[in-house]
């Protein structure tokens, strides 16, 4: 078995080939965040609709490798419908997991758990994090808006 098989899990390939929630909407109520990975050219935009403390919708668009594109799709299906607090916790757990930091295992990462294998490929950790970082920035923007 090639080392790489531990990375390309079936869930990941499924989201890569059949991305959920793909394509951006022309809707001002959404918060948009765009992140690029200078080291490999991955380029993802995450578009999020937040209302009454809940993540109502997440859309994504971009180009990149399978890890990068699939993780945007996984994120969108996982966090849609969650409260902002829950989404924040999942995001934090996920990012800690792929960066080999301690993370709260009681939080259910569901499909996103498939990315645990990326820890063995440090050069690809960024690919798996970029969509989530964009979403994290979205939550920050949203909380700043609420504070106003």
């Amino acid at each position: 078995m090639h080392q790489l098989e531990t990375l390309y899990r079936q869930i990941i390939m499924d989201h890569y080939k059949n991305p959920r929630n793909k394509g951006l909407l022309d809707d001002d109520r959404y918060i948009k965040n765009h992140i690029k990975n200078p080291s490999c050219g991955d380029d993802i935009t995450i578009q999020t609709l937040i209302k009454s403390g809940e993540v109502k919708d997440i859309r994504h668009e971009g180009s990149g490798c399978s890890i990068c594109c699939s993780s945007a799709s996984v994120l969108s299906s996982l966090l849609k419908g969650k409260t902002v607090d829950e989404a924040q916790q999942v995001t934090k757990s996920y990012l800690n997991m792929i960066m080999k930091q301690p993370f709260d295992e009681s939080i259910d990462l569901e499909d996103a758990l498939a990315y645990q294998g990326v820890t063995k490929f440090p050069a690809r950790v960024k690919c798996a994090s970029i969509a989530w970082k964009a979403f994290e920035a979205t939550l920050k923007k949203a909380s700043e808006k609420t504070d106003e």
Partner: protein
Amino acid sequence: MQNRKKDFPILNKQSLVYLDTAASSLTPNAVIDKLNEYYNEYPVNVHRGVYKLSYRATEAYQDARQTIADFISASFEEVIFTRGASSALNLVALSYGEKVLKSGDEVIVSELEHHSHVLPWQQLAKRKGAKLIYVPLSKAGRITVDAFKQVLTDRTKIVALTYVSNVMGYETPIKEITRLAHQKNAIVSVDAAQAAPHRAIDVNDLDCDFLAFSAHKMFGPTGVGVLYGKKRLLDIMDPLEFGGDMNDNVDKFDGDWKDTPYKFETGTPPIAEAIGFAEAVRYIKKIGFKAIIAHENTLRQKAVDALSNIKGVTIYNPTAETGIINFNLDDVHPHDVVSFFDEDHIALRAGHHCAQLLIKWLNVPATLRASFYVYNDEADIDTFIDSVKRARTFFSDIGF
């Protein structure tokens, strides 16, 4: 070619098939030893010291300049040490270009250029109201003399072209282009970052006006590159940076500058780096370009032949004359493929290779690039080809 792997410490430490020379070459013992000699025996400043150690450093630094001048048949004062090729190419635009370029003038570039040889001219042209003209590439993606003739006009002031493309590995007919450009009184700036490591360069024969390259792509250390310029042009150019060691007399409200090359080298120069660079040049000369070219051709041909027989692999530059293969596995993003190679201890590059215009011209999101140098051997090619085959199967099997 004799086996050179033993000259490179990293190749004796681990299993590694290094196919990323076009990004940076590996460093041989001779160069590492030379750097150590400087830091262990005379790690002091140059130019201004009148004591023995400083004299030794100054001599070594000056010898380095002469060695590199000889390497390209230039004279001492035509060789300027810079931070690297990018910095050297910018200096041409920021000093010479800044001085001569006027609104309405034309600058000829190409989509084969590395960002470092198109952006400086693009931005200068925008600022000056000059026009950036792209040589139309041939179907294969080459710069041809015929295409160049189509864009050369009486308004052409600058021709800025790459000698060897860092993605396609094509050699530009610089000599003929320079002859034509000079008939129109245009000057020619040559990006030789990918040429200098692999081809003998004679600036008198080429007759180009400027030419730049980096040490780290030709066995040398990081942190240093060279700008060659014709003395006549360097003489009329203004320094870009002002400060220590580039001036003669300094008064409160004015100063005057030294002659070239010093007026372009303010501050403490990259001393160890220049000395290491000269050692790298000596290493190349010892092997000889004839042997280098023959060796790279053999490896390249072997790899191209084998790759052509693998289904689902596209080669974008099957006819290139230097040791660079630009390819993709169909339907698999190159960053995915590169991880596969990495697990097989094969280092090669995926991305736009700082040549987005060419990647757009190829109409792909990114490509894989394998590039060869003297430390590669036929066994490396076998390992590489075997890995490509298994990668092809792997990615097909998991559903790409």
